[in-house]
């Protein structure tokens, strides 16, 4: 990554880090303190990736705002009732509530389940040192990544989900990340570590809800340390406001036969980034990365989806769909790397886009880098408008043009939304679609 | 002509799992042999081993053609010696036209035998005649080899190749599977038309259906990698009536 010029705004983050450093006390784990120190050093070294020329990783997403605006951490208050009305909720689930980036045990529910414990990451750092130290910052590495570095240096509390070996859960862990109303230019750094024991099976939902209407800076990182033969299913819901910069990172490392499936739903932000990288480090690993992005107005949503196959018999599926309206812009930058010797790899990659208005722009770049010959890899991308033949077909059966268009757009989205489980989550998203879709600036089609 | 003695074979790159376990068989010039047997008995393996498919490894015994061992020969060299395999699942090859393929194959065969190659004109004439003979849709000849062909069309295309190359020993691997009555008749006609005192056939089949149209001289039953019984056409009739039950090992033995 290109070294960025040190911007004046960096000073603000520096003083925040100074505060974190000062508040480290005898209760803090020394290894965690040094992890934060090295993360900060990395961030100071590389700065924000705002350079435009030769910056392939951020080719289509300009973060210039980060050089001009300052964001800092502060924490608001919220009631349980407000949380429950803002996000899907079930008393059967294990729910962790994170407010403005800080884990709040008092709002959380069912934290210690059978075989799955949900705790504050920082508080567990000493007690669960053996597990946490070998995973935290090891799966989501700070090197060359300003936002993982910033999150690692500045996260408050964090959430630690530990799934014991062999456990198969029926109910999900839900992590509700809320940005509260009441203050602008707030920075929050939600951090989640999931460790899945060998042959365990669990699912984790992350909801990102923004209750403010001002500009915020949300920088979440989730890293998933998988055990051999384990399966983690991950759902990511990003409902942002149109002034916010939301740059999320998801990282996994797969031992043999480990499976990570992730489905993302992203809408709303001024600048959003869903940066996922799964590393299939041992044979027989599998990953399925699906997502839906809906952009409207001047929103900008970037999806940086990457899978590396290091060993034989790995399988990966990338499938993203986009709905673009208004003057919005979306990016799909998919990458599949098949390393030498990773024979019998199966990799699929696809991005499909529905363009609803003039002024919207999709930049899609599904790329393959293949260094092994006995593999099956395919990718594809499409962009187009609502299919006129389908529209006509529905209208010929008496459906109004408006309703027909809604059905087609919702149907396009539904393929991804249906994947969200339990059903209560997909129902929650369908409700959202009912307001999001008619609000799209689609030149009168919707 | 063909002499198979104590043939053992297994899937290459696999430790165990011998599929052929001491198969013996002799085919004389002009004879039509049928190899019947239950699924998994090793019929297709035998057909492919005869043609030299490298997915299988011969672990013992020998295959002799006209007294010479062909075990060490590559598939193309066996083909030059006159062995033809009609595939159960012919490969699809994009961009290669059937015409071009057959011309190249016949050229290679003639060259290997020290015969004069056909000119483009001579070959076209020959090929067109064969296309008519096996009643394959000529439009298919403009497409890529086997790509988008139906199951029946693929089998007809195999018969077209058989008719064009005129091998000395043709091995038909389940050519009758999945064919309708008309296609079956085409296969039978192709084989019957080519029957001659110096050409032999091995028909590998699960059912007796094909044998109603092509009357074999010898019928073998292949079970668990060995020919457990050999007889005349009446053996096929018996199998059609009673199935393979009588040839199967006792349940206790099967469990061993």
């Amino acid at each position: 990554m290109t070294t960025a010029a040190i911007s004046p705004t960096i000073a603000a983050y520096a003083s925040e880090f100074a505060a974190v450093r000062a508040s480290a006390n005898s209760n803090s784990s020394s290894w965690l303190t040094s992890l934060r120190e090295s993360a900060w050093a990395e961030f100071e070294k590389i700065g924000f990736p705002t350079t435009r020329r030769g910056n392939e990783t951020w080719k289509y997403t300009d973060l210039g705002r980060l050089d001009r605006e300052t964001f800092s951490r502060s924490f608001g208050e919220i009631s349980l009732a407000e949380v429950k009305s803002a996000a899907p909720w079930s008393d059967d689930w294990q729910t962790a509530v994170v407010v403005d980036g800080k884990f709040v045990a008092g709002l959380s529910n069912n934290l210690s389940g059978a075989g799955v414990s949900v705790t504050e990451l920082e508080a567990s750092a000493a007690a669960d040192e053996a597990v946490i130290k070998s995973a935290l910052g090891q799966v989501a590495k700070v090197e060359g990544n300003a936002f993982v570095a910033l999150n690692t240096a500045l996260f408050s509390g964090g959430v630690f989900v530990n799934v014991a070996a062999g456990v198969e859960t029926e109910q999900p862990v839900h992590i509700i990340n809320i940005v509260t109303a009441g203050a602008d230019n707030r920075a929050s750094y939600p951090r989640t570590l999931v460790t899945a024991g060998a042959n365990s099976k669990a699912s984790v939902i992350e909801s990102f809800i923004n209750l403010s209407d001002g500009p915020q800076f949300v920088v979440p990182v989730i890293e998933v340390s998988l055990g051999e033969g384990s399966t983690v299913t991950h759902y990511r819901i990003q409902l942002e406001n149109e002034k916010t910069i939301h740059l999320g990172t998801t990282r996994t490392v797969h031992p043999a036969n480990a499976v990570f499936n992730s489905t993302s739903f992203a809408t709303g932000p001024a600048i959003g980034r869903n940066d996922v990288h799964t590393l299939l480090a041992e044979p027989g690993a599998e990953t399925t990365l699906h997502g839906l992005y809906i952009t409207n107005g001047k929103s900008h949503q970037d999806n940086e989806i990457s899978t590396t196959h290091e060993k034989p018999h790995g399988t990966s599926h990338q499938y993203y769909k986009g709905i673009l309206a208004g003057k919005s812009r979306a990016v799909f930058s998919g990458r599949v790397v098949v390393k030498p010797g990773a024979m019998k790899t199966l990799a699929e990659q696809k991005d499909m886009n529905l363009m609803l208005s003039h002024g919207a722009e999709i930049d899609t770049k599904p790329s393959l880098e293949i260094y092994a010959d006995d593999v099956k890899c395919a990718h594809g991308a499409t962009a187009g408008h609502v299919d006129k033949n389908m529209l006509f077909y529905l209208m010929s059966r008496g459906v109004s043009r408006h309703d027909a268009a809604f059905m087609l757009v919702a149907g396009f989205a539904g393929e991804i939304v249906d994947e969200f489980q339990p059903a209560q989550v997909s129902e929650f998203l369908y409700k959202k679609l009912e307001t999001i879709i008619p609000g799209l600036d689609s030149e009168g089609i919707l | 002509m063909l002499e198979v003695t104590n043939l053992h074979a297994k899937v290459a790159d696999v430790e165990n799992g011998e599929i052929l376990r001491g198969l013996n068989m002799t085919v004389n010039p002009g004879e039509v042999h049928a190899i019947m047997g239950p699924n998994g008995g090793g019929k297709s393996t035998f057909a492919n081993v005869l043609a030299g498919r490298t997915d299988y490894e011969v672990t013992g015994g020998d295959i002799k053609l006209d007294g010479e061992s062909i075990i060490e020969l590559a598939p193309d060299e066996r083909s030059h010696k006159g062995i033809f395999l009609a595939f159960q699942y012919p490969a699809e090859i994009p961009g290669v036209r059937p015409w071009q393929f057959m011309k190249a194959a016949l050229d290679a065969q003639k060259e290997a035998r020290g015969e004069k190659k056909l000119s483009v004109r001579e070959f076209s004439k020959l090929f067109d005649a064969k296309v008519k003979q096996v009643k394959i849709n000529p439009d298919l000849m403009k497409r890529s080899l086997n790509e988008g062909f139906s199951g029946g069309e693929k089998k007809r295309n195999e018969m077209l190749q058989l008719a064009t190359l005129e091998p000395r020993l043709a091995v038909l691997d389940e050519t009758d599977s999945g064919l309708d009555v008309d296609a079956m008749r085409i296969v039978a006609e192709s084989v019957n038309a080519l029957r001659s005192p110096d050409r032999s056939f091995i028909l590998v089949t699960h059912y007796n259906r094909l044998l109603h149209h092509i009357v074999p001289d010898v019928v073998h039953v292949l079970v668990k990698g060995q020919l457990v019984q050999t007889g005349g056409p009446e053996l096929a009739v018996e199998i059609e009536r009673d199935g393979y039950k009588r040839f199967m090992p006792e349940p206790a033995a099967a469990g061993a």
């Binding site: 790329s367 010959d373 099956k376 | 290679a108």
Partner: protein
């Protein structure tokens, strides 16, 4: 491209070249006129003076040279392509090398240096009119200088101009001045800028309004002199309603040192015209160990006006490094752009090639069929951009990229950039990666075809959608080239 700091000497290590498979690798012993080694303003002036160029062209070259100096000072040599090579020392090469003729340029074929004619005969490009290829007019370019053009008289009757670039500058300055740099400006990119400053010759073709060029036009490029860069410039203009099919072939001798080839091709297709541009590129690829070979850093671009069509077909088997993206600017309404490519990277070859389709006009249509073959240690990258500008209503693109890997030490990469700014556009991009399957090989071999021939048959079949776009003779040559280039990689 990653220009490592390894000194260039590492590629000129002594290596036994006797085992070479490259069949076009002979050196022709002709006397050459050369500019002194290195690049400075005097080099540019020297070249321009040698060519007896008008002042405006010298000025243009000098502007390009000054721009290039700026680019070089800013390290603007492109580094984004997936290729690696030692840093190029731009002062350590010859920028001008011309076969020396006793007097002025030859008036007829009989006056062309027999050594040169023989060289082209060996390449299979007969320049004697009596041996002319049926229906192909040939312009032969030897070390950047056009040495002979066949059929020129006959074309002249139709008003078609087909001559060396230099001759066009002398005889048709108004056409050259009007179109030179109109599609690839001298500021375009590092290598195009360098070419604009030092280009020595190339081909020029102009087809007048409504004329369908009845024969194929062909330029045959040959690098001969050691240590010389080749910087030719081709400009083809199809006036309104005109059409032309143009072929380009290239070879170079076997050399231990690498040679830079930085050409520029500009195509101008005015309303209702059609240009078909076919390339069979067989520059010296370097030895099996990766020593020497041509660095083929080429800028090719066409502009299609209303209802015009530009079609690029390329079979790229040569060069140590290929950096090349023949592009079409679909400026006019209803214009069409096509790109058909087979690129092969065997041994230590590296290819980063693809296309750009820039849709500006309404109802514009582009098709991309790109096939990459990787073998040995070869690295093959398809890099393509499809951009739909806001005003390009109802634009369509279909892209098909396929990679074939032969062996487990090579790489195949696909990097498409699809940028859509208009909702009425319809785009589809598909890509797949495969190897020659054992089933396919066994099937062909069972019918008596040797393993090597079976590989060749499968590979050319797989490339067929591209090869069939070539004129017939070229298609045969391309198929043979694929075979020869893959010798040793299969079987």
């Amino acid at each position: 491209m990653t220009s490592s700091k390894t000194p260039p000497s590492s590629i000129s290590r002594e290596t036994d070249l006797s085992g070479m498979e490259y069949r076009w690798g002979f050196v022709t012993d002709v006397e050459s006129d050369m500019a002194p080694k290195g690049l400075n303003e005097d080099t540019v002036r020297f070249i321009s003076a040698k060519k007896n160029e008008p002042e405006w062209l010298l000025e243009w070259r000098l502007r390009a040279y000054k721009h290039w100096l700026k680019l070089e000072a800013n390290d603007a040599e492109p580094t984004w392509a997936k290729v690696k090579y030692p840093a190029i020392d731009y002062q350590d090469m010859y920028y001008y090398s011309a076969p020396r003729s006793k007097d002025a340029a030859p008036k007829s074929m009989d006056e062309v240096d027999p050594e040169l004619l023989e060289a082209f005969e060996k390449l299979g490009v007969p320049l004697h009119e009596r041996q002319k290829l049926a229906g192909v007019a040939v312009d032969a370019v030897f070390d950047s200088v056009s040495v002979a053009t066949t059929f020129a008289d006959k074309l002249e009757e139709l008003g078609i101009i087909f001559c060396s670039f230099n001759e066009a500058v002398q005889k048709h300055p108004e056409l050259v001045k009007k179109y030179l740099g109109s599609v690839v400006p001298y500021t375009d990119n590092f290598f195009a800028t360098l070419n604009s400053a030092v280009f020595s010759d190339g081909s020029f073709a102009y087809i007048p309004p409504g004329v369908k060029c009845p024969i194929e036009l062909m330029t045959y490029f040959r690098i001969n002199t050691e240590g010389s860069g080749q910087f030719e410039r081709t400009l083809i203009v199809a006036d309104k309603g005109a059409s032309v099919s143009y072929l380009e072939g290239c070879t170079a001798p076997v050399r231990k040192t690498s040679q830079l080839h930085a050409a520029v091709v500009e195509l101008v297709a005015l309303d209702d015209s059609e240009i078909k541009y076919s390339t069979v590129q067989n520059w010296f690829p370097g030895t099996k160990e990766g020593v020497g070979g041509v660095y083929n850093f080429v800028t090719k671009r066409g502009r299609a006006d209303d209802r015009a069509k530009i079609s690029w077909t390329q079979v790229e088997t040569g060069s140590a490094i290929t950096w090349k993206y023949p592009s079409v600017i679909l400026k006019g309404d209803d214009s069409v752009g096509e790109f058909y490519s087979v690129a092969l990277a065997n041994n230590h070859q590296q290819a980063d090639t693809g296309t750009k389709m820039i849709h500006m006009g309404r109802n514009t249509k582009s098709t991309i069929v790109a096939k990459g073959i990787s073998a040995g240690f070869g690295q093959n990258t398809y890099r393509g951009q499809v951009k739909i500008m806001p005003g390009a209503e109802n634009a369509t693109n279909h892209t098909q990229c396929d990679s074939l890997l032969i062996g487990d030490k090579c790489g195949a990469h696909t990097v498409p950039y699809i940028e859509v700014q208009n909702p009425t556009a319809r785009l589809e991009h598909e890509a797949s990666t495969s190897k020659v399957s054992d089933e396919q090989l066994f099937y062909l071999m069972q019918r008596g075809i040797s393993e090597e021939e079976a590989h060749h048959m499968i590979i050319t079949g797989w490339s067929r959608d591209v090869i069939r776009e070539l004129p017939f003779e070229f298609a045969m040559e391309a198929s043979q080239l694929l075979k020869v280039s893959l010798e040793g990689a299969v079987g």
